[in-house]
């Protein structure tokens, strides 16, 4: 039988205490460091006030966490399933691929809809970013980025520009021009600068500001015109993989999910981490707000999707099944919030009933992982991009 894999990959002298121990390999500001677990704890407690020891801090944070759990439980008087019993059962969902957009030469990593409900921008591993009119399946613009793995792309609300970024650690904005001979790459404007890959980007309510999330563990708000950093958000202890802007009335918050299994809600004005949810068992790949803005869903490598309520401050539902063994890469809600579409690494798309927690349908069609999924702005269809180089529109 093969050996079990250990959490510590190496065994040897620790960089700080020089004793021979199982080492944990970490990266601090992209520098690899090999510390034993004891030294790691010490380092994590930088900023110890006098009188506090390692043990006391650990104990304190544990008790606080338990208290938090209790507080949350107190107000939890009913489960979503019980409340949802009154809801009408959903009939059979009959969705098929209506359009297939072929043209990328490599894995499609990200896509976004335009507000006109029919245009899409998509980015792929080979650095190509293409703007399509999904209805006619024509390509309208194509840009080649000087980097591979373009993991984030977004359409501006006005429809006049697109933003994208990836392994180049920055987010660039391209104004979309209609002159066929114009070289789009020439007009590129570099907006964001991070110290690691860009994992997600979105325009806030106008073309003038962009919110980005990065593998360096931070998210940031930038001014497009000047490229200036307006606000940065620190708090994740690992790569931030996804973010979504709240549709609420005040429009002042956003949620981000990361490799540290946490989903954090932030205030755009102050940069503060307002709420935090850490019930996932693995990296969170995608977060999306419920249409009313009172909750959000997350998709994770632990093969579950979960719904978190912001006012009750807890997880209210888990969408999972034994036969789903692969991580979920992307989620989105239908317009009414009743259906949750989730794309998985086993090439399928599962459709969940948000209220009842059951699976409504499973959609086959892609030949490789589904990497991104978005519902169109008017809810008539949704688009899924996959590592099989195509995008499909389902309705």
């Amino acid at each position: 039988m093969c050996d079990q894999t250990f959490l510590a990959i190496t065994f040897g002298p620790c960089d700080s205490c020089s004793e021979n121990r199982p080492l944990m390999n970490l990266y601090i500001k992209t520098e690899p460091i090999n510390y034993c677990s004891l030294c790691m704890e010490i380092m994590a407690c930088q900023g110890l006030a006098s009188g506090e020891t390692l043990k006391s801090l650990k104990a304190e944070s544990e008790t606080l966490r338990k208290k938090l759990e209790e507080e949350r439980k107190k107000l939890h008087d009913v489960e979503l399933e019980k409340v949802a019993e009154k809801a009408e059962a959903l009939g059979e969902l009959n969705m098929k691929t209506r359009r297939t957009l072929k043209g990328h030469g490599n894995k499609v990593l990200c896509m976004d809809w335009c507000k006109d409900k029919r245009r899409i921008v998509s980015s792929s591993q080979d650095g190509k970013v293409i703007v399509w009119d999904a209805f006619t399946t024509n390509k309208e613009h194509a840009v080649t980025m000087p980097t591979t793995w373009v993991m984030a792309c977004a359409y501006a609300p006005s429809g006049c520009a697109i933003a994208c970024g990836g392994l180049d650690n920055k987010c660039s904005v391209y104004p979309l021009s209609l002159d066929k001979d114009e070289n789009l790459a020439a007009k590129k404007k570099s907006v964001a600068m991070h110290t690691n890959y860009l994992s997600g980007c979105t325009f806030t309510n106008s073309d003038m500001q962009i919110l980005t999330s990065s593998g360096d563990g931070t998210s940031a708000l930038w001014d497009v015109e000047s490229g200036q950093l307006l606000q940065s958000f620190h708090g994740h202890s690992a790569d931030v993989l996804t973010l979504d802007l709240a549709p609420s009335e005040t429009g002042n918050t956003f949620v981000s999910g990361g490799s540290d299994k946490k989903a954090n809600v932030w205030d755009l004005r102050s940069g503060q981490n307002v709420q935090s949810f850490d019930t996932h068992d693995s990296d969170i790949n995608c977060v999306k707000y419920y249409p009313s803005g009172d909750a959000f869903a997350s998709a994770s490598d632990d093969s579950t999707c979960r719904l978190f309520d912001l006012r009750a401050d807890r997880e209210v539902s888990i969408y999972s099944k034994d036969s789903i063994m692969f991580g979920a890469a992307s989620v989105d809600f239908s317009l009414s919030g009743r259906l949750l579409f989730a794309g998985y690494n086993d090439y399928t798309i599962n459709v969940w009933d948000v209220l009842k927690g059951t699976r409504v349908a499973i959609l086959f069609g892609h030949e490789n992982r589904v990497s991104s999924l978005r519902v169109s702005p008017d809810g008539t269809a949704f688009c899924s991009g996959s590592w099989d180089n195509t995008l499909r529109i389902w309705a």
């Binding site: 093969c2 601090i28 994590a44 407690c45 930088q46 900023g47 110890l48 801090l57 304190e60 944070s61 606080l64 208290k67 938090l68 107000l75 939890h76 008087d77 009913v78 979503l80 409340v83 949802a84 969705m95 209506r98 359009r99 029919r118 209805f135 006619t136 024509n138 309208e140 793995w149 006005s158 979309l176 209609l178 066929k180 806030t204 106008s206 003038m208 360096d216 307006l230 690992a238 009335e249 490799s259 004005r269 249409p291 009172d294 309520d309 006012r311 209210v316 034994d322 063994m325 692969f326 239908s334 317009l335 009743r338 948000v354 499973i362 008539t380 269809a381 949704f382 590592w387 309705a395």
Partner: protein
Amino acid sequence: MERVIVAMQDPDMGVKMRNQRLLITVIPHAMTGNDVIEWLIQKYNITEEEARHLGGLLVQYGYIYPLRDPRSLLLRSDDSPYRFQTPYFWTSSRWPASELDYAIYLAKKNIRKQGELVDYEKENYSILHKRINHTWDFVVMQAREQLRASKQRRKADRIVLECQEQAYWLINKPCPGAFDVLDLGPERCNVLSSRVALIEHSRRALGRNRVKSSICLESFMKYSEQYLHHDPIMSGCLPSNPWISDDTAHWTINTDMVGTPTRLRVERWSFSFMELLNDSMGRREFMIYLEKEFSAENLCFWVACEDLRHGESSKIILKVEEVYKNFLAPGAARWVNIDSKTMERTLEGIKRPHRFIMDDAQMHIYFLMKKDSYPRYLKSELYKNMLAKAIVPQETKKSVFPFMRRQRHSSPSPAMVTQATEDDGKAKGAGPTGTSSTTNSQI
């Protein structure tokens, strides 16, 4: 995935394994593709399509390998025999497939049957030959030894071992162009966080106001119910979903500045104040109503503040001054009625203007409109007339000839629309000719 495999191998509850026949030899502990699918259907209560898909994945990731056609990693739902891969070869153990092993494997293949190596394998072979030339003798010797040893085994064992190894290498060194199961994307690493910060955060979190679950969950139910008929995926859309019928009528009747809006759209304005403001036609109607009530300055103020918040950084100071001049200065043309405390705070803040300086005042006016003007608007004649005038489009009947595909026209790009309004003086004809062309595209 390994959980599934272990469950499958369970002697009592697992997949039935028998001695399978492969041409003339009998292979022990094998199962048919059909068995695998049946078992999956039963255990997880899923449909056959899903079970086939799942089984296929198990084969592609190397947990089960085929005996009959070892080159293609597919799960066939008939009686082709399959076996479980030994855990040594599991992809999750992530032994990096060493070059030496691969070289030995290719050498064995080469020796056994000249010319059995496929193109990409031949390439890899020559590359390896160049790279580890110094140990080549060792490689060839090992290959010969292993071949000799295998000749002494029973045929059944030999076949099994060969297939096993082949499947393993097919996965680890795939044919270029075929997809690589081990491709995972950029590395994700961990950054340390401070425990002190964590404690701070927990303390703050304890102080939050929370709402009872029952209230929150009820609100989800209500929301879903309210929007049920507006959700095209759940209740279809009139006249027809453009993606299904290729008919863009649904979009044309819902454009921003259409003459008569649809009933659903007007109904939606009554769901929440934000819905009304987000729809440009709704906003326009509301403005007309407010003008009648002589309180239009509220909405103008709100719009100006939104513009300030989301506009360009360079124009902030200018915009703040404008807003002050028009709405806040004593005796201003469109003076808004804010309570004195907020007014004081705002006026103080204007001395050092920034993007969010008007937030308090904006919030005040927003809630004023929401609590007062908005409900009155919904009860007003203006709104009721709008509702009565609104059209309910006919559902288009399915065309008699289902194979007749409509021409799909492209729409003017939003980028072009704004460009056209910018170059107001230029001839309008110059713009549209660039992009609108009728195309009859294939799915």
